[in-house]
Symmetry: C2
Subunit: 447 residues, 2 copies
Amino acid sequence: MEGTAKYPEFNDLEILVKQGSDEELREFLGLVHPADIADLVEQVDEEGRRRIFTLIPRSVAADVLPEIEDHVLDEVIESVPDERMVHFVEEMDTDDAADLLAELTREDRRRILARIDASDSEEIRRLMGYDEETAGGLMQTEMVAVLKDATVSETIEEIRAQKDEVENLHFVFVVNEDKTLEGVLDLRDLILSTPERKVSEIMDPDVISVKADMDQEEVSNLFLKYNLISLPVVGDSGRLIGRIWFDDVMDVIEDEADEDFLLMAGAGEEELEELSVFKSVQARLPWLAITWVGGIVTSIILGHFEETMKEMVALAAFIPIVMAMGGNVGTQSATIVVRGIATGKIDYKDIGAFFFGQVAVGLILGMIIGMATATFVHFRHSAIEFSVVIGCAIVSVMGFSALVGTFLPAFFKRIGVDPAIATAPIISTTCDIMGIFIYLTLANLLL
Amino acid sequence: MEGTAKYPEFNDLEILVKQGSDEELREFLGLVHPADIADLVEQVDEEGRRRIFTLIPRSVAADVLPEIEDHVLDEVIESVPDERMVHFVEEMDTDDAADLLAELTREDRRRILARIDASDSEEIRRLMGYDEETAGGLMQTEMVAVLKDATVSETIEEIRAQKDEVENLHFVFVVNEDKTLEGVLDLRDLILSTPERKVSEIMDPDVISVKADMDQEEVSNLFLKYNLISLPVVGDSGRLIGRIWFDDVMDVIEDEADEDFLLMAGAGEEELEELSVFKSVQARLPWLAITWVGGIVTSIILGHFEETMKEMVALAAFIPIVMAMGGNVGTQSATIVVRGIATGKIDYKDIGAFFFGQVAVGLILGMIIGMATATFVHFRHSAIEFSVVIGCAIVSVMGFSALVGTFLPAFFKRIGVDPAIATAPIISTTCDIMGIFIYLTLANLLL
């Protein structure tokens, strides 16, 4: 199986779901990775879903459900009887169970929570209490923790006891009697030690941990910086309350990028997940409305300069180039600031130096483009004053746009709003209005 | 240490590098995570770098070097004597060593490769032969592989033998006599088995593997989909040749997002890493040049409509709104296609359905915005024909822009070019030109 765990061919499976016997389908589903079964579930109809969830074992279903796209989850839940769903949720990791239940309607959620094992349901409820986009929202409560003065053989016993519960067991956390986190133990060091050694002697005491309220973007930046596989989450008193496993963080890195990417363009993140014309229109309309208001303001400004334009219609011919140049430079600067702040590659404290750099880039680019345009205008219209006006306008518009593009996201960050809200529609609308104002004012003064 | 492995305070360390005794500095560096030492190395001057690399042990230096930003690497190498650098490279993982050497000047590289251990240097040379952005460029040759019929105790012996060489040892690969990959063994299952059991009985035979030439974007999508920690890389014959560890893939997910993000805006990826006005200007100028040519073409088109505009100067006042609307919708569609193809969330095979969806969204948004604008024009200019023209123009421009925004990246993907090359400057320039042409042609026909 190179590059894929799909076997047999995906299309065959879809046919099998429709036409195969239970026997055949069960056998083939057994050969397929849970993530691929999730893809299959998304493709087939309600009857197909019912068949799949009847035929796969609970433990597999517990791995399939977290991989299903949110927007089909409701329909999937509908096609599974409550009784089976309860078993699935009990089998799932607590973080996945909490995420799944959070997606359900309040009614479905209550019904399922009422039926699952009391200690499980309490843990899931507790996890659901954390904001989804924080460390608490990412952590699971399944983990192996041993006391500092346990021995290697006691630790192995503990792993044996928990092996069915904890799926990814590559590290054991070490705590003291108060459950305060003291260190971490790599399974490799456990294997290589004699049975009677104390855990405290072979553990790594330099363990990085976070509080449950840390934003997931910061969490993912920690994983990236320190190459972490697993990150313990502690309460206010330092007590170990859960752990974050790297695979959820990989998803966060991708999701945060998706989110910023689409928000910056003034589109909706969900447009990547689901093809819904209605939802796309809904997501984009507010941003386009802002652009529209900007366009109306621009048209009013242009109305005020009607006399100037009547005298020299050629002025109007260069409105697009002034707008396009300003909009591009502004969006470039905004993109760099938004992405740089999100990934921690731009230190917000150094934003001052960054600010001047961006404006300098805008002005230099403005001078190059301004000169080129002035030269063109001079040869085409043989009007020296007009070519001076257009040249100066482009330099000022591009410098100003770089300033707006840098300032707006930094300002949003400052007031505690996601900098990516400084979307391309907002940036380019601001740049357009100011650009046209600058251009025509210069024209009015100099011509 | 919550949320950070920094201790003591970072600023204190900078002062210590300048003024502290060797004794003090060595002690404090011992408390700091290699990733933080890398940050420190980036901050201090040449003399400071020399001190740091003299005082930290080889094994720490081997972890610090891969964390240093590329653009300061050359300077860092300058401040470390060849002799020490050779030791560092020998201590590094082969993938990190290959990446590091690839960043050096040809001369430096040859000098260092000539001095390191022959078997190491051969492996590093071989890894450097792979394209940096493929599975081969991400893999390392350090791993533990055992024969299928080895026992658990033999495997533990093998781990003991390799423990200093292989840093992240959570899985053991299982191969047959030809070194063909047969399965993978979780360390947990090793711990829980009796010493005399055969590896083949406890291994997982369903192991996903890739060929060395797979693009890193596909590799990262596999990690994301199947929640992998480690991925074996095999040669054409199925022979195990290396493994990819998840931390490099996390970096890939972030870097690929950075790259697409900035490319889409027509800026350079390196603008996130380094504050260089010159390099920023260089990266952006080509895209702005395209925009400029588009602007000039637009001005020529507008020149042809000079008579129309002279008769009705109000026409010019609505050029910006037509341009802004088209540009925004086009960029929104392009962003979704580029990001969707990169993350595998949009299946290129389904692009047809997606295409119609995007155009539908553009047309619906166009009708809403077009009606709003027509209403505004009607009340402000009380010219019914003009309001019809502007309304129709906006609908067609927005529909057309959604089409361009979807088509261009899909087309680039089709011809084997990175879809992100369909940058905002290209999309909006195309939309601007067509938008203005459509607008004024309609005006000419209907007014």
